[in-house]
């Protein structure tokens, strides 16, 4: 190992002479100066900027925009009545004015697919709302106050969490269908919503509770307490708003999940009654034709509509999750 020579003055070593950069090449900024040219941005705005840059977001927006128009204004797409049966045209193929042909009962398949969107999306949206609100409120309280309140809420949630969503909803709906067979349009929709929500809220609760546990230990919560804010004001003013990001991600993804769950229940004959036009019912009715190979189109239309709608919501959930939590983004 070469020794550092003691006799050579250190400053004289080539490459280590005293060097001072000319000031005009290294201008000094004022310490703590800040850039005032950009408009102010909070984190939601930043998230929106990231969302806007994402292709997946725009694909999901395109899909969901179509779905929204179909739900709100089905008459724009077809003049036919989805509940008008022409038995004489049972299982007839596509023809002029009937692009998807007819099913076994002689209903127009295209019209039924269009009108079926409403029930599916309604169940999905209502379910998400009914699940998220109590999930966040209870989860936030459990996480923030802790102690026995947390123990009680969490254990009750665990009981519901232990029962599989579809199984629980199936049993619940079987009982309700027996007791009140005829509940009308809204009655039927709301029963399905609550049957699913009863077993869906613990998931939101767990996520919200976890987020609150993390946020409540941050220093700004202590700082707010030191100002004299009450614990309750702290919870709703500081902790919950900062815990919402993961809940929003979960909610967007679960929109798609609940739409599929409703279709599954209806397919099994326990969801919406046959009097309500819905994709699940139509898929269920079409299975015989598929099995006997009579006409695949009857199944194809409602099934694709269901797949594309839930895909739209799940893609949206994906994009939202990337935008709200850029650290977890999986990049090349």
């Amino acid at each position: 190992m070469p020794e550092f020579p003691a006799d050579v003055p250190r400053a004289a070593l080539p490459g280590q002479e005293r060097f001072v950069a000319p000031l005009d090449q290294t201008p000094l900024a004022e310490t703590g100066s800040f850039d005032d040219s950009r408009p102010p941005e909070n984190q939601w705005k930043e998230a929106w900027k990231r969302l806007r840059r994402n292709w997946i977001f725009w694909v999901s927006v395109a899909l969901l925009a179509v779905v929204a128009v179909v739900v709100l204004l089905p008459q724009w797409f077809t003049d036919l009545d989805p509940t008008y049966a022409q038995l004489s045209r049972s299982l007839e193929g596509p023809s002029e004015g009937h692009p998807a042909g007819f099913d076994r009962q002689g209903y127009d398949v295209f019209a039924r697919t269009i009108y079926g969107a409403r029930a599916s999306v309604l169940v999905g949206v209502l379910c998400t709302i009914v699940v998220t609100v109590p999930g966040v409120v209870l989860g936030a309280m459990a996480g923030f106050y802790g102690g026995w309140l947390d123990a009680v809420i969490s254990r009750v949630a665990d009981v519901f969490f232990a029962i599989p969503l579809l199984l629980g909803a199936l049993v619940g709906l079987a009982i309700i269908n027996n007791l009140w067979p005829d509940r009308g349009y809204w009655g039927s929709i709301l029963t399905v919503v609550f049957a699913l929500a009863a077993f869906g809220w613990p998931q939101v609760l767990r996520i919200a509770r976890g987020a609150v546990l993390e946020v409540k230990n941050l220093e700004f919560v202590d700082a707010a307490r030191a100002i004299g804010k009450t614990r309750r004001a702290n919870l709703w003013g500081h902790v919950v708003p900062n815990s919402l990001a993961p809940v929003i991600v979960l909610a967007t993804v679960s929109l798609g999940v609940y739409i599929v769950a409703e279709a599954t229940l209806s397919f099994l004959g326990l969801g919406l009654p046959p009097s309500i036009v819905s994709w699940g019912n139509d898929i269920s009715a079409a299975q015989n034709q598929v099995r006997s190979g009579q006409r695949l189109g009857v199944m194809f239309w409602p099934a694709s509509a269901l797949a594309l709608t839930s895909l739209g919501f799940i893609l949206l959930g994906d994009a939202v999750s990337d935008a709200l939590d850029p650290k977890s983004r999986n990049r090349e």
Partner: protein, 568 residues
């Protein structure tokens, strides 16, 4: 004849790709390291010091790449020569001690195995030799019981021990150059000193050259022969360490040296401090009279605004079984008094219980026993909402982490308005006027008020936190490591701002810190804590001049660059 340089960096340029643009992080850096020499790169965060070092071993993070210049190791060009060339050098010729000892060891693999991997990968040892060598290396790095330690997992090691293990790893293959990237900035000062001393001895013995990267000028000057000061990706000044320290030429180096707390002149500081204290005490008396007038609760404290007596806090931790609990005494019989208009510093290493004391004084945490009196009133007797709010008005905190102490959802305006709104002070127009005044006090432009915390730098956020704490015109401000997370220059600014505010508003500070160097600039009385107990309690002059306790002396010794004389 001159020796041949070991590492020569010439006109190095490194850029990171951001979207479709290249952002240059290192612009034309020149640097030479001779065999056996210690060279330090000093700069604040974002100056490009780490990037330069990582470019040498081709470990640039993310999209970074070398865009120009040359890096020669032992006369051979290694920049842009493909992965193979550099990989052959890594470990065997150039070792690395990374910054964060917590995240740089694999938690699932025994420490000994991780060092063995280095030995095997570099063909230094084979078969049975490996284990023997691992133990030798750990011993060499200063770990007692090396044989047993090698069989332990990283979580069984303290921070200092992990850093020793990483040093052992960096030196395992006997490299000729060791790159130490902020090797001790995550550690307590006393541990930092031990580790750096040991590293010095080791590298001297082995004749290893060290490229030390640090933000601490005092530390760099103490350890290095040659100093390179970087600022915004450029070298602004370089040369022999002492020469730069005593005679800085570039305005940035001048600024750095005058801001470094460990290097500042003692006499000058004592004078400045005395002036501040005099004014502050005067203003504080006026303030106390005013408070006694408006708040019926307070006004009996005399000279002391906060008095803590026999404070003890015991935390109950889960034991070996759910029905067994263990007691952990975080704070053990701590008493002190805070004189009006002065600063009392509580100094200690991590785990000494200093922050727990602060939280008890703030009434955010109930003491297990003991009392805190504010202005003569035991705060545990203030239980009505009215009384509580009255106490809150008089005592406000500023916390350590400028990134976590402001709610990211609140604009700066709302953040400063919050205390006013909570206490229902003033109309909307009056509040706005008050916020203007407060921002002005902490030297922030009014335009900041529309911004959100994520748009501000650490120093700016800390200013906002101070403005917010001052909104209620408190008598006491509790500064819990309020300047510890900031770069030196920003730290100096905030400290002088705090002193200014103290003399102007008559504030009394309780200043919690692990950094004794800072204490001299701001404090009048010092409380040194170790493991929950007060080990020394005296005025600043006494603590610095004639520390009574071994522990205090150790803390003082550990201040990097504390012993360097500046010719000023």
């Amino acid at each position: 004849m001159n020796p041949t340089p070991l590492l020569e960096i010439e006109d190095l340029r490194v850029a990171f790709r951001q979207g479709k643009q290249d952002v240059e992080a290192v612009r034309g850096v020149n640097l030479t390291v001779y065999p056996g020499q210690t060279v330090a790169i000093v700069g604040e965060s974002g100056s490009g010091k780490s990037t330069t070092a990582h470019a040498v071993i081709d470990l640039l993070p993310g999209t970074g790449r070398v865009t120009g210049g040359s890096i020669r190791f032992d006369g051979r060009e290694i920049a842009g020569q493909g992965k193979k060339v550099v990989r052959a050098l890594r470990g065997s010729q150039i070792g690395l001690v990374p910054q964060d000892p917590m995240s740089n060891l694999n938690p699932l693999v025994k420490v000994g195995r991780q060092i063995a991997e280095v030995l095997v990968a570099n063909d230094v040892a084979k078969g049975k030799d490996v284990d023997r060598r691992v133990v030798e290396l750990l011993e060499e790095a200063g770990l007692p019981n090396a044989e047993q330690r090698a069989k332990q997992y990283p979580h069984e090691f303290s921070g200092g021990m992990r850093q020793r293990a990483l040093i052992a790893m960096g030196l395992a293959a006997r490299p000729r150059l060791l790159i130490a990237d902020e090797p001790t900035s995550a550690l307590d000062v006393t541990v930092q000193k031990q580790i750096l001393d040991h590293l010095d001895v080791l590298t001297d013995d082995l004749g290893v050259a060290v490229l030390l990267i640090t933000h601490d000028l005092g530390l760099a000057a103490e350890r290095a022969d040659h100093l390179v000061v970087m600022y915004k990706g450029q070298v602004v000044e370089s040369g022999p360490a002492l020469e730069i320290l005593q005679n800085p030429q570039h305005p940035y180096s001048k600024r750095l040296i005058s801001s470094a707390p460990s290097l500042a002149s003692q006499r000058l500081l004592a004078q400045q401090r005395a002036e501040v204290r005099e004014q502050a005490q005067e203003a504080a008396e006026e303030l106390a009279e005013e408070v006694a007038h408006t708040d019926a609760e307070f006004g009996g404290g005399g000279d002391y605004v906060v008095e803590a007596e026999h404070l003890t806090k015991v935390f109950t931790l889960p034991g070996t079984a759910p029905w067994r609990k263990e007691d952990f005494v975080a704070v053990d019989d701590v008493s002190f008094r805070l004189r009006r208009g002065t600063t009392t510093a509580i100094v200690g290493e991590s785990g000494s219980g200093k922050s727990t004391v602060a939280r008890m004084v703030l009434d955010l945490l109930k003491p297990t026993s003991g009392t805190v009196r504010f202005d003569g009133v035991d705060i545990s007797t203030l239980r009505s909402k009215q009384q509580q709010l009255a106490l809150r008005r008089q005592m406000q905190p500023v916390f350590q982490n400028p990134y976590a102490s402001l709610d990211p959802q609140y604009s700066i305006y709302r953040a400063i308005e919050e205390p006013l709104a909570t206490h229902k002070i003033g109309s909307k127009a009056e509040r706005e006027a008050r916020i203007r005044e407060l921002l002005d006090k902490v030297s922030l432009p009014w335009s900041v008020s529309r911004r959100f915390p994520n748009e501000l730098s650490g120093g700016q956020r800390q200013r906002v936190a101070i403005a917010r704490a001052l909104a209620l015109q408190p008598e006491v401000v509790i500064l819990d490591e309020a300047v510890s997370a900031l770069d030196v220059l920003v730290q100096a600014q905030i400290l002088s701002l705090l002193a200014e505010l103290q003399s102007e508003l008559g504030l009394s500070y309780l200043f919690i810190t692990h950094d004794l160097a800072v204490v001299r600039q701001i404090a009048d009385d010092v409380l040194v804590m170790e493991k929950g107990r007060v080990v020394e309690q005296a005025s600043v002059e006494e603590v610095y001049g004639s520390p009574q306790q071994e522990y205090t002396r150790r803390l003082l010794d550990a201040i990097p660059g504390g012993s360097i004389e500046l010719s000023r």
